[in-house]
């Protein structure tokens, strides 16, 4: 498959829509998300990022009960003008086939931080996932001080830290039991 030379997004007055973004051709070089009608364009993850995503997918899938599904890179509709693409999600409806999943179907959103996305993942995305009521948020952050994992649980509309670990190690009991070893 040949990569597009450019991605054309229809220009019109006012905010961009979910429809605008869903119509974009697959661009594996970057991710285009929609936040309150603005476009957010971020580069695709480099090898270290992808490697971590792969390990998370393997370990979460192995531990997941049969009534949930772990997926990669799906479109999640948070609101009429909010479309995000979490690195991984844990969804309630295994085997379903949607172009876009409503936030209500998500148990957990997982983001692996890259240098380009640190502030966005920790500030904006966290807020957006909390606002749409996603019960759990897992942030995986390869800092200079080590591979930090932080799991959050939604409590009265805000994320409170549920568990955290250094060196890529984290044991969770929610939303299901899993021992993450990402080092």
């Amino acid at each position: 498959m040949v990569a597009p030379v450019q991605t054309l997004v229809p220009a019109h007055d006012g905010p961009w829509t979910i429809d605008d973004v869903l119509r974009l051709p697959d661009d594996r070089g970057q991710r285009i998300e929609l936040v309150d009608g603005a476009l957010v364009v971020s580069p695709a993850g480099r090898m270290r990022h992808q490697r971590l995503v792969g390990k998370l997918f393997t370990q979460l899938s192995a531990a997941a009960p049969s009534d949930v599904e772990v997926t990669l890179d799906i479109n999640v509709r948070l609101a009429e003008d909010r479309l995000l693409i979490p690195d991984l999600t844990i969804m309630r409806c295994p085997g379903a086939d949607f172009l876009m999943v409503p936030a209500a179907e998500l148990l957990m959103a997982v983001e692996v931080v890259s240098p380009s996305s640190r502030t966005y993942d920790r500030v904006t995305k966290r807020h957006l996932y909390a606002e749409s009521g996603i019960p759990y948020y897992l942030l995986v952050d390869p800092t200079d001080a080590g591979l930090l994992l932080r799991a959050y649980q939604l409590v009265q509309g805000r994320y409170k830290e549920l568990a955290s670990g250094n060196d890529g190690i984290l044991d969770l009991e929610q939303p299901f039991e899993v021992s993450l070893r990402l080092g």
Binding site: Q6, V9, A11, Q30, P43, D81, T124
Partner: protein, 191 residues
């Protein structure tokens, strides 16, 4: 499916063209992209934020603020709408208004050290961004004053930076903001 050349041209003329770019965006690339397409393109650590065209209501209030500030602004300060402000070598934002301490500059951007005040007029599209991530990156860059104006509530809040964090130091009352820092002004936000 092949398009005719005419259709391709039409699509190009009426679209935002995001180049294939599987790497973090750089300052130079973002400056070029924003200029070419006349859109508000901001950069945060390699990610782009492309804002939609602002609403008439947003522009109306912004226009009135500009006139009011311009009338009272001391000569050693300069008011500019929608210029690039460089917060770091990987962060570029476009505040609705910025008040700068070195009038007459001609570069592609104003460096953060020269900015005394940034003003953002909130809209449905920008509210989260202006109160969240933008607030953080302005603080990181040491911009002393950040004025957030809410047209829906006809209210404004002035934040001042102290030890790296913003705190609220002034708030409008009855739709009017009495500003004393970094200059004196009475700003009517109503209507």
């Amino acid at each position: 499916m092949a398009n005719s050349v005419d259709q391709d041209i039409a699509l190009l003329e009426h679209s935002l063209a995001i180049p294939y770019h599987p790497h973090p965006w750089t300052l130079d690339e973002v400056l070029a992209l924003g200029d070419e397409q006349g859109l508000r393109v901001e950069l945060c650590d390699g990610m782009l934020h492309v804002g939609p065209t602002p609403s008439r209501r947003h522009q109306r209030l912004l226009g009135r603020l500009m006139v009011a500030i311009d009338q009272v602004l001391p000569r050693e300060l300069e008011l500019l709408p929608a210029v690039n402000v460089l917060l770091s070598d990987s962060r570029l934002v476009v505040p609705d208004l910025s008040v700068n301490v070195e009038p007459g500059g001609t570069g592609a951007y104003v460096p953060a050290e020269q900015v005394a005040l940034v003003v953002e007029v909130l809209s449905a599209s920008s509210r989260l961004y202006d109160t969240g991530l933008k607030r953080q990156v302005y603080a990181d860059a040491g911009i002393k004053h950040y004025l957030l104006v809410d047209p829906d509530a006809a209210s404004a809040t002035l934040l001042e930076l102290d030890f790296g964090e913003y705190s609220e130091v002034n708030r409008s009352a009855g739709g009017i903001l009495y500003l004393t820092d970094p200059f004196t002004a009475e700003l009517d936000l109503r209507g």
